[in-house]
């Protein structure tokens, strides 16, 4: 990475770990379709299965639970559609899907699609001003008619404001009625402790490029005994719920990244949280009315997330001015057309459209240094002043 660049957007994607690059490049030189029966095929299959075992080992799953996919969006789609279809096929009364108003679009959009095109009754439950699911509304919603709930999906940690969700309580509420729970743990893995079996969830999404692995590979960890309908039909790979030739180099690299990031999670979290706390404290010193959105720094928040509101500014202006100074962050919500919409997460937390637009997300990661924080603190004062002048017009 360019050394003059201050990269504070690790929640978007984080640089690959050397071990992951090494694992990937090693496999790129080989040949073998993991479904072939000859020696090369067996060799490829062995890499895939060892990778599966490595991942299962560090996240508290059985190897058979791990289904490789192309990443977080596919895993979320597979979980939501696949589990909804299978559960409704078992019992046609199961038409409800309960989720939260602050999910990633990879969850929200499949749910909207299921509602619009496939008769699902989707309920997006409210969150607190700190961005945490309101458990009472979940309880009420389940209690209203537990038999009709096909699935509950609650993210492990929010991608914009970093608030951790009460997964244990969600699982407890669901378990009373045997309702399966899916969680999108894309932002959580490697940042906070994630143990599939101990959490009690039935399905869990993660992706490679957020943990120092490559793009285009991830997994849905899903209990073997839970029926999931396939989205992609073909050669029957991955328990016949996700066909397609296995991407051996990417899977090997994913395993290396997951192993290292999970093993280093605690040390990483302590180091990054200290940098994040330093960032927040010093930015607020320079810009006194800047404030942290979401849960307070601590066990309820991702260690690398600093989502700050800058009253009187447009997030877009701040981003552009920082970018011009080589400091990269996010306004929290990207859109394929590049047209910024006020964040649905902040709106759900009770911010008005103006507040939702005046925010920036700084997300720290394994390459973040104290020098990065120094550079941001030095730049932020004049940048905010400029952006305020532009907004005032």
């Amino acid at each position: 990475m360019n050394h003059s660049l201050v990269y504070l957007d690790h929640a978007a994607t984080t640089p690959m770990l050397p071990a992951a690059i090494e694992a990937m490049t090693r496999q790129l030189t080989g040949v073998g379709n993991a479904s072939s029966l000859h020696a090369s095929g067996r060799g490829a299959r062995r890499v895939v299965e060892e990778s599966r075992e490595t991942i299962a080992g560090v996240i508290g799953a059985r190897p058979g639970d791990v289904v490789f996919t192309s990443g977080g969006t596919e895993s979320d789609n597979l979980a939501l559609k696949g589990i909804f279809w299978a559960r409704r096929a078992e019992d046609p009364r199961r038409t409800r899907v309960l989720s939260t108003a602050i999910e990633h679009h990879a969850v929200l959009d499949p749910l909207h699609w299921l509602a619009a095109s496939d008769g699902a009754d989707v309920e997006l439950l409210p969150v607190s001003p700190e961005g945490v699911l309101d458990l009472e509304s979940l309880k009420d919603s389940v209690a209203r008619d537990p038999e009709s709930v096909a699935l509950i999906s609650v993210m492990w940690a929010n991608n914009e404001v970093g608030s951790l969700q009460p997964i244990d309580e969600v699982v407890a509420i669901a378990a009373e009625h045997g309702i399966p729970v899916h969680t999108d743990a894309v932002q959580a893995l490697g940042q906070v402790p994630v143990d599939f079996a101990a959490s009690g969830v039935d399905a869990l999404t993660f992706t490679g490029h957020k943990v120092g692995g490559p793009y285009g590979v991830g997994a849905l960890v899903v209990r073997r005994d839970l029926a999931v309908s396939a989205l992609v039909h073909g050669g029957g790979q991955e328990r016949d719920i996700r066909s397609g030739t296995l991407d051996v180099p990417a899977i090997a690299s994913l395993a290396a990244a997951v192993e290292e990031s999970v093993k280093n999670q605690h040390e990483h979290a302590v180091r990054v949280a200290a940098l994040r706390d330093d960032l927040v404290r010093r930015v607020v010193e320079v810009v006194p009315d800047a404030h942290l959105h979401g849960a307070p720094a601590g066990p309820g928040r991702l260690p690398g997330n600093a989502h700050l509101g800058f009253p009187g500014c447009e997030g877009d202006s701040l981003l552009m001015l920082l970018d011009a100074r080589g400091i990269e962050c996010s306004t929290g919500s990207a859109c394929s057309a590049g047209v910024p919409q006020p964040s649905h997460v902040l709106l759900a937390m009770g911010c008005d459209a103006d507040q939702a637009r005046h925010s920036l997300r700084f997300s720290l990661g394994h390459t973040t240094t104290p020098g990065d924080i120094d550079a941001l603190v030095e730049a932020i004062g004049p940048v905010v002043e400029r952006a305020r002048a532009a907004k005032a017009r």
Binding site: D316, S317, M320, L321, D323, A324, S336, A337, G338, V339, P340, R386, A387, A389, A390, A392, R393
Partner: protein, 367 residues
């Protein structure tokens, strides 16, 4: 200078941005998101509002090697351009939304924001030329390619706006711009020119207005009356579907007494009456304008020319300015002059300023 290049996704603004870089400026590409719902705006041919256009602009910025952002001006655009467009048609006038967009969005909202963010100027792909006059003021002149000249739609810019504007294409003709785009490796080199109004998806103005105006429309129908006989010769479904000088789409039930084609002479939104008549009654020799905008020093009297629609003819005229009113005597009568359009006043190739046409006086017709 630090320059914002407004990039629509079309060939002109892409080449303009590239030329600004070549001239040594530090350029940032900005695509203006003007629609609240991009899919509803015209795609392909029109160079402003679609996701595809945004992507074309982004790819052009990549090729040129400049940073690129999308600025969301959809609220301002809706308020200042789209709402104004509807109000004007509802009032029986014929607005020019492109002029309005230049006045209120590109060289106001965008320019203000750019200046506040530390930029010095906004560059666009408009065909017009800027020069510094003997008095030190910036003058705007017609482009050398008269067929592409866009000084008319820029006639609303004042000195302050002109000082912070760059029109890098003003001295080049369109074919040369396309050739240059090709040689610079810009994929939009062959993209069709934009036409029509960007927020009217299918070019059906009347249909769009009918849907959007709803209860705001002064009427949804009325009589079409022949000015020569006073007879009702047809009916219509809303005065907003008409513009002065229009010939097509009148659907007259009664043939004209004199057998000549009929043109719209007058639109009366309150009574809902559209008056039609023969072509000679379209001729006007005096135009009264309001809301003047001056590029430089405010003149008292101009003996020059006036252009009263985009790509319209130039008419020799004597213009008398008194405060917020502009009286224009046309030395050659003009036809089909619609209130709401801009009268842009020229001294030779130089734009002096503009006014919004409030009313016209027909040439006396011998009884």
């Amino acid at each position: 200078m630090k320059v914002v290049a407004a990039m629509s996704g079309g060939v002109d603004s892409a080449v303009a941005a590239a030329r600004a870089v070549q001239a040594g400026h530090e350029v940032t590409g900005v695509h203006l998101a003007l629609s609240r719902n991009p899919a509803s705006y015209r795609s392909g041919a029109r160079g402003c509002c679609t996701i595809e256009d945004s992507n074309d602009a982004r790819r052009a910025a990549d090729v040129i090697g400049i940073p690129f952002y999308v600025w969301d001006l959809s609220d301002r655009f809706h308020e200042d351009v789209v709402e104004d467009f509807m109000d004007e048609y509802a009032a029986g006038r014929t607005p020019n939304p492109c002029l309005r967009c230049n006045e209120k969005i590109k060289f106001a909202a965008v320019l203000d924001r750019a200046l506040a963010l530390g930029f010095d100027a906004v560059a666009t792909g408009h065909y017009a030329q800027l020069r510094t006059g003997a008095d030190g003021l910036i003058e705007m002149h017609r482009a050398t390619d008269h067929a592409k000249d866009q000084s008319y739609v820029l006639g609303v810019l004042d000195q302050q706006q002109l000082r912070h504007s760059l029109f890098p294409l003003g001295d080049t003709d369109k074919t040369a711009v396309r050739r240059e785009a090709g040689s610079r490796g810009l994929l939009v080199a062959d993209k069709p020119d934009s036409h029509d109004i960007c927020f009217v998806a299918d070019g059906d103005n009347a249909g769009w207005l009918r849907e959007k105006l709803g209860d705001r429309a002064p009427n949804h129908g009325g009589d079409i009356v022949d000015a020569t006989t006073g007879e009702t010769v047809g009916s219509h479904t809303g005065t907003y579907g008409f513009t002065i000088g229009q010939r097509r789409g009148l659907h007259l039930g009664v043939p004209a007494a004199d057998g000549k084609p009929r043109f719209v002479l007058d639109i009366e939104p309150v009574s809902g009456t559209v008056t039609v008549g023969p072509r000679e009654r379209l001729a006007v020799d005096h135009v009264a304008g309001v809301r003047p905008r001056w590029c430089g020093t405010v003149p008292e009297r101009v003996e020059g020319t006036v252009q009263m629609r985009a790509h319209g003819a130039e008419h020799r005229a004597v213009v008398i300015v008194s405060g917020d009113r502009v009286e224009i005597d046309l030395l050659d009568p003009a036809e089909g002059i619609a209130p709401g359009q801009a009268a842009v006043i020229y001294d030779g190739t130089r734009v002096v300023g503009s006014a919004t046409i409030e009313s016209t006086r027909p040439v006396e017709v011998d009884a």
